[in-house]
């Protein structure tokens, strides 16, 4: 088995196959030309590829491939019911369901919409408890629209899930998606009159640690946060080495819950890497301290990495990967200590995920 990077770009999907020691890489693509691939992932349960693809004329689709991208099938009837007064705008993120529900997947979309499929992505039903949430009038769209971009499933309890929407905040369900509770305590919304509202936070990415189910991380418009109680409360973590709290992507170590990675930007008004330098920042102590990782990264770069553009594999040592809006993919086979550029001059990169090939 080798590492397979799924790189979604504004102009199609690219696959990058890693050699056995993750030091050689082979580029394939573009696939699904004409489609803006907001997110592509491989379902670890059956190896299928799923793409959340958008076209400015033909709308949002989910595409599935059971042969590593050689052929694709499009889902049917994706949309929001008329009684919501909403229409589907764009699809943003596909997430595998719980291991015990092998046919189930979830899809996040604009405007603030979450869907579930019970047939491996052929058809999708909106989760109305979130789509028609009682706080919806207080939500507002971020620069990318009101996108539901983060969906996380509890590894032990399939009924417990998290969803995050910009700018509505983080939500948790304990009943399989029927009802959703805002989980934004102590998460700042500095752009609101009340900087700590119940909802309205601009969460940029939210991840649940795969082996410590109480621990969540989020990169927000207003800081980096960690929760140790399933989102009931959040602690702001920036400072101590982080040059800025603003940024989009987030990656976690596959085993150690104290290790996380961010790629900050100067701020909301200047969305490039700070000080003209592309750097990954790593904490190994739960966010108390951050160190700059830049061995092998360009020393002069005004780069930006989008919210889906950062991923880790499950090897030991863990591989860490990210793609830039300027079309470069960087890989580290050493948990971030050393980096190499494994592709360049791709179209603007929207997402990076890790799968496997054999």
């Amino acid at each position: 088995m080798g590492v397979l990077l799924l790189v979604g770009t504004r102009k199609g999907l690219f696959l990058i196959r890693g050699g056995a020691n993750r030091s050689s890489w082979e580029l394939e693509g573009p696939l699904l030309t004409g489609w803006s691939v907001f997110h592509a992932m491989q379902d670890p349960r059956d190896g299928n590829l799923y793409v959340a693809g958008n076209n400015f004329v033909y709308g949002g689709t989910v595409q599935r491939s059971s042969d590593l991208g050689q052929t694709w099938e499009r889902s049917e009837g994706l949309g929001l019911p008329e009684e919501t007064g909403l229409k589907l705008e764009e699809v943003w993120h596909v997430e595998s369901g719980h291991e015990s529900e092998p046919e189930t997947l979830y899809l996040g979309a604009t405007p603030g919409a979450l869907f579930r499929s019970g047939d491996k992505g052929e058809t999708w039903e909106p989760l109305m408890g979130l789509v028609q949430h009682e706080t919806r009038e207080q939500w507002q769209p971020g620069a990318g629209g009101m996108c539901c971009h983060s969906i996380q499933i509890d590894p032990e309890d399939p009924k417990q899930m998290y969803a995050a929407i910009s700018a509505a905040g983080a939500f948790r369900t304990d009943d399989g998606g029927e009802t959703w509770m805002p989980r934004n305590k102590n998460v700042a919304a500095d752009f609101m009159p009340d900087p700590f509202p119940e909802v309205g936070q601009c969460v940029h990415k939210l991840l649940l640690h795969p082996e410590q189910r109480e621990r969540l991380w989020q990169q927000n418009h207003c800081g980096v946060y960690r929760s140790d109680d399933r989102g009931d409360d959040w602690e702001r973590l920036e400072g101590n080495g982080l040059p800025a709290g603003f940024g989009f992507p987030l990656a976690l170590h596959p085993r150690d819950p104290d290790i996380a990675y961010v790629i900050p930007e100067e701020g909301a008004e200047n969305r490039v890497t700070p000080n003209g330098r592309l750097g990954v920042y790593r904490t190994t102590d739960g966010g108390a301290n951050w160190e700059l990782l830049q061995n092998g990264l360009p020393q002069q770069a005004w780069a930006a990495v989008m919210r889906e553009g950062f991923a880790s594999d499950r090897n030991d040592p863990a591989g860490i990967y990210f793609g830039t809006q300027s079309g470069s993919v960087f890989a580290s086979a050493s948990e971030g200590d050393e980096w190499m550029e494994v592709a360049r001059q791709l179209p603007p990169i929207l997402s990076v995920e890790v799968g496997e090939w054999s």
Partner: protein, 85 residues
């Protein structure tokens, strides 16, 4: 019988087929019979904003839209509006 021609991106989504012969009384009925109907029409069954449809060279939006009758029509062309980046 009317011939419907679709752009190459849509043909890719229809197994490579870019031309269809359909029996239909209106533009809407013809489009709903395509395997890419969900890409041409939105979830309400309305024509997507940047999709243009021409019936023998006449813009269907200048007619009755999806209700435009096809009596005697030879060809429907589905064309993406000039837009994007």
């Amino acid at each position: 019988m009317v011939v419907v021609r679709i752009p190459s991106l849509l043909a890719d989504q229809a197994g490579g087929q870019g031309t269809f012969e359909v029996e239909a009384a209106t533009v809407g009925e013809a489009l709903r019979g395509l395997p890419v109907r969900d890409l041409v029409l939105d979830e309400r069954g309305e024509l997507r904003r940047l999709v243009n449809v021409y019936v023998d060279g006449e813009d269907a939006r200048r007619g009755d839209g999806l209700e435009t009758p096809l009596a005697g029509a030879q060809e429907i062309r589905v064309i993406a509006a000039v837009a994007g980046g």
